[in-house]
Symmetry: C2
Subunit: 487 residues, 2 copies
C-alpha cells in the first residue's frame, strides 16, 4: 500500500519533495468515513484471485502465441482526445463513448447557448475534450499515423487492454471489457492470412480446446453471391439474412430475402450453393471459379492461396470454408475469419479479416492494407470454464501452505518457505501462531493443493508430512524432495 496523503501545507511540501505522486501520495485519508457499503458502477466487474489467475493463464497463452508469430506489443492510453474517437464508430458509437469532464472550472468554457437550449451534445463538446477508448483499432490507427516514419513496415502489433462503452449492461455485456487484437499492416501478402489461421489454431490448442472451427470466407465471394442472387444495391440486407442461416434455416432465410425483394430462381440457386457441404474446399473453389464474377474470382484465388500456403501444416485441419460467413462488411475487403468452439453456447470467440486502409480515417495518404484478428477474451474464458479446461490445479497460485504449532515451529517454517521460494515454488507460511484447524481452514478456503505441517518431531527428523488437500492422501518426505514433489 502506498502512503497517505498528507494534508497540511508543510507536510504537503514534504510529500512533494519525497517523490512524485507515482509512488507515495496515492492513498487514504482515514478521516473520511463511509457508512454505506460501497458498490461497483453498473456494468463493471472486479476480477478476484481465482478469476485473475485463470485470466492471466489465458492472456499469457495468447500473448505467447502472438510473440511466436512476431507480433509486437503496444499499449495506448485509456484516454484519447475526443477528436480522435468521434466519427469513427457511427452516430450510435459516438453516443456510447465515455466522456471525461475537463479538469478545473469546466463551466467557464461551456457553450452558454447550448446550456440555455438544453442541447446536451453541444454542451458536452464544450466541457469535455477526452474520452475513454472504445476499441483498440482507432488507437492503433492513431499510433501508426503518429509514428509512421519510425515504424518498420510491415508492422505487426498486438494489444491487450480494456475498452469502455456506455452500453446498457446485460448478461455477458459489460461497460468495461478487454479486447485482445493482433494486426499485421503494410503488406498485402496472404502469408499473413495463413499465419492468422495458424495463430488461432495454436492459441486454442495451447488452451486445451480440441474441437473448434476456423470458418473462413471472403468479401469478394460474398459480393459475387449477392450479385448472383439479384441483391445488387441490397448487399447489406442479403448478408443480414444470410448470416442467420445457422439459426433459422434455409426456408426462413429465403422468406426474409423475399420480404426484402430478393427472390426468384437465382436466389434459390445461390442458397443451394451456400448450403451444399462439399467434401473438399478445393473442389468447391474450382467449381465456384467457373461461375463467379471478377470479385468472386479474386476471392477464390485468395482463399486458394491461403489453403496452398497452409498445406498440411497445423491449422489447416481446423479450417472450414463457409459461404454463409458474413462479418462487418463495410470494412473488410478480403478474407474474413470467425472461430466457434463446438459444444459450448458462447457464440463466436474470435474474428477478423483483411481491410484496405487502416489509417484513412486519420487522413493518411499512404494506403495501409492489413489483416487482423480479435480474440473475445470473456467468451473464451466462459468456454474454457464450461469445458473444464482451467483444471483444479492452479499453477498460477500458491502450491503449499506451511503450518506450525508455536513460535519455534513457525520460525522453522519460515526458513522452509524461504528455501522453497529459492527453488521457485510459490508458497506461504501461515503468518500467525494459530490452531492447526484454523490454518487448514485457510488452506481449504484458498483451494491450495498442498499443506506441510511442521511439528517438533519434523524439526528434529528433517522429514515433513506433505498433505494433498485434493486427494486427502499424505506422505512423509525429506525437505530436499519437497520442491520436486509439489513444483
Amino acid at each position: 500500500m502506498a502512503p497517505a496523503k498528507i494534508t497540511n501545507q508543510a507536510e504537503r511540501a514534504f510529500n512533494d519533495q519525497l517523490s512524485t505522486p507515482q509512488i507515495p501520495s496515492n492513498s487514504l485519508v482515514l478521516m473520511a468515513f463511509f457508512m454505506e457499503k460501497p458498490t461497483l458502477p453498473k456494468g463493471t466487474r472486479d476480477f478476484g484471485p481465482v478469476q485473475m489467475n485463470r485470466r492471466l493463464k489465458l492472456l499469457d497463452t495468447i500473448r505467447s502465441v502472438f510473440r511466436t508469430y512476431g507480433f509486437q506489443p503496444l499499449e495506448t492510453p485509456a484516454m484519447e482526445n475526443l477528436s480522435t474517437l468521434t466519427g469513427k464508430y457511427g452516430e450510435e458509437g459516438d453516443q456510447l463513448l465515455f466522456r471525461i469532464l475537463n479538469s478545473g472550472d469546466f463551466l467557464k468554457d461551456a457553450n452558454q447557448e447550448a446550456l440555455t437550449n438544453g442541447d446536451f451534445k453541444k454542451v458536452s463538446a464544450s466541457i469535455s475534450e477526452k474520452g475513454l477508448r472504445y476499441d483498440l483499432t482507432v488507437p492503433f490507427a492513431r499510433y501508426v499515423v503518429m509514428n509512421q516514419h519510425e515504424l518498420a513496415m510491415p508492422f505487426r502489433r498486438y494489444q491487450i487492454q480494456p475498452v469502455w462503452r456506455a452500453d446498457r449492461p446485460q448478461k455477458g455485456r459489460y461497460r468495461e471489457f478487454y479486447q485482445c487484437d493482433a494486426d499485421a499492416v503494410g503488406t498485402d501478402s496472404l502469408i499473413c492470412e495463413a499465419e492468422i489461421v495458424q495463430m488461432i489454431h495454436l492459441a486454442f490448442t495451447k488452451l486445451g480446446v480440441k474441437d473448434f472451427k476456423i470458418r473462413i470466407n471472403h468479401r469478394g465471394i460474398l459480393s459475387a453471391l449477392a450479385a448472383m442472387a439479384g441483391a445488387e444495391g441490397k448487399e447489406g440486407q442479403f448478408f443480414v439474412a444470410l448470416d442467420k442461416l445457422d439459426k433459422i434455416g434455409t426456408e426462413k432465410v429465403l422468406g426474409e430475402l423475399a420480404e426484402r425483394g430478393i427472390s426468384g430462381p437465382q436466389t434459390q440457386k445461390v442458397m443451394e450453393l451456400i448450403i451444399a457441404k462439399p467434401g473438399n474446399a478445393v473442389d468447391l473453389f474450382n467449381k465456384l471459379q467457373e461461375i463467379f464474377n471478377d470479385e468472386g474470382k479474386r476471392g477464390i484465388n485468395d482463399l486458394k492461396e491461403v489453403y496452398r500456403l497452409l498445406g498440411d501444416h497445423a491449422g489447416s485441419g481446423s479450417l472450414v470454408f463457409d459461404l454463409s460467413l458474413a462479418r462487418g462488411l463495410s470494412y473488410y475487403t478480403g478474407c474474413i475469419f470467425e472461430v466457434t468452439i463446438s459444444n459450448v453456447a458462447v457464440g463466436s470467440v474470435c474474428g477478423g479479416g483483411r481491410y484496405d486502409n487502416l489509417t484513412m480515417a486519420f487522413g493518411s495518404k499512404e494506403k495501409l492494407s492489413g489483416v487482423g484478428i480479435s480474440f473475445g477474451i470473456d467468451r473464451i474464458y466462459d468456454a474454457l470454464e464450461e469445458l473444464g479446461l482451467f483444471g483444479t490445479d492452479d499453477h498460477y497460485g500458491t502450491r503449499v501452505l506451511i503450518c506450525h504449532f508455536d513460535e519455534r515451529t513457525r520460525d522453522f517454517a519460515f526458513g522452509l518457505v524461504t528455501q522453497l521460494r529459492s527453488a521457485g515454488i510459490a508458497c506461504e507460511v501461515y503468518p500467525d501462531v494459530a490452531k492447526l484447524k484454523k490454518q487448514l481452514d485457510y488452506a481449504n478456503r484458498r483451494g491450495l493443493p498442498f499443506v506441510l505441517i511442521v511439528g517438533e518431531e519434523e524439526m528434529t527428523s528433517g522429514k515433513l508430512t506433505l498433505k494433498d488437500l485434493r486427494s486427502g492422501t499424505q506422505q512423509t518426505l525429506p525437505v530436499e524432495l519437497i520442491a520436486q514433489t509439489i513444483g
Copy 2:
C-alpha cells in the same frame, strides 16, 4: 482488427445479432476523415514495442515474485463510483480525480442553481457519478469491504494497473501511470514485514540490480524521536525537515527546525543520534531501547523481530536501518520501507509500510491491519535503462527473420518459420517477395538479432546461412540446429 460498425438500420440489426459488442462492433467507419494529424492527450503516453517488451519483462518479473510469496492477483475496474473515491485523498486529491460525464442527456439532472451561480463543483456532482481510479489502495479497500465474508484471511493481494490523476504534466509525471502494489491484510505478524524485505530483494536481484538499499524505519521510533527533540504537536514539521537530511545536511535541517520552534540541546542530541552510522543495527536497537519512550520501544521491538526473522536469509544484507526515513506518516503505524538504487538519480523506487486499518474509510467495524509495498514501475524502468540492464538481446521479441528471393524460396521459408515456431522460437518470414536489401533493412530497423537467408542452394542442401546482425558474423547450419542456436 475487429470488424466495422455498420450504420444503416438493417445492417445494425445484423451486427447486433452476430454477436455482442465484445467482439465485432468495435471499429472504424472509414467514411470519416481527419485531416489534422492526431495527437495524444497531454500527460499520456503510448508504449511502443521496444518499451513494451521491456515493461513486460519488468512486470512479469515482479509478478513472478509476488506469486512466489503467495500474493494473489486482483483487478478492479478503471471506473469507480465517485462516492467511493471522493474524501479519500484530501481536498486536493478530489480535484485531481478524472470525472466521467453521465451518459445520455446529463443536463436534465444538472443542478440548475449551481449552473446559474457558476459553481462548477456542484454542477460536476450533478452530471458525473463516476471517476477514474486515483490509486489502487481505495479500490482494494472497497473490494475487501464488498467481499469480506468470502475472503480467507490473511488476504494477500497484488495489483498492477494504471491510475489516473489530473495533475499538471511535467517530466516524469504523467496523468496515466501504472501502480504495482502488494498488500497483506488481516494479520499483525511481522513475518509479513520480513517477507516484504525478501520480496524486494528478490525482485531487484532478478532484475539484475546489484546495488540497492532497503531502508527501514518505524512510526513508533519516529514518534519517540519527535518527543525527544521537543517536537510534540509538531511531528509533521519535524519529519518534513528530517526527511531532507540526505539532501541539505544536518546544519540546514537544524536551521529549519529552529524556524519552526524546534530547537535546543535535546534537538541537537536527537540529530546526532540520527546521523550516527552504527556498525550494526542490533547494537543501535539496544542502545535506543534504553532511551526511548513506549512508542519507541514498540518500534525497536518490531524491528528487532524483523531482523531476527530475516537472520542470514537473502535480503538481510540489503536492509539498512535509517532513523531519518519518514514516509506518509498520517497513515503508517508500524514499519516503513523505502528502496533506493545506488548510482542512479531516480529517487525512491519502492516504498510501503504497515497500517492499522485498511477499510476504516468504508465504515468497516472490523479492524484490518496490513502491510503493503508499492513498486514505482516508471522509475524502476528508468533505472534499469540507465544501468543498461535491459540488455540488447530482447528475448521477448522476434529472434529471427527469414529472408528469401522469390516465391519458391518464400514458400520454403514459410515452412521453416512454421517449424521454428513449433519449437517455440519467435520468428518471422518477410511476407512479400522483395529485394534482399529491403528485407535486411527491415530486420535492422526492428533490431532483430538474427536473419536466415533462404536461396535455391540452401533449399537443395538443407543448410542455411544464419547471420548474427549484432556481431555481423555468420555461420552455415543444418535446419535442425537452428532452433537451439538462436533460441
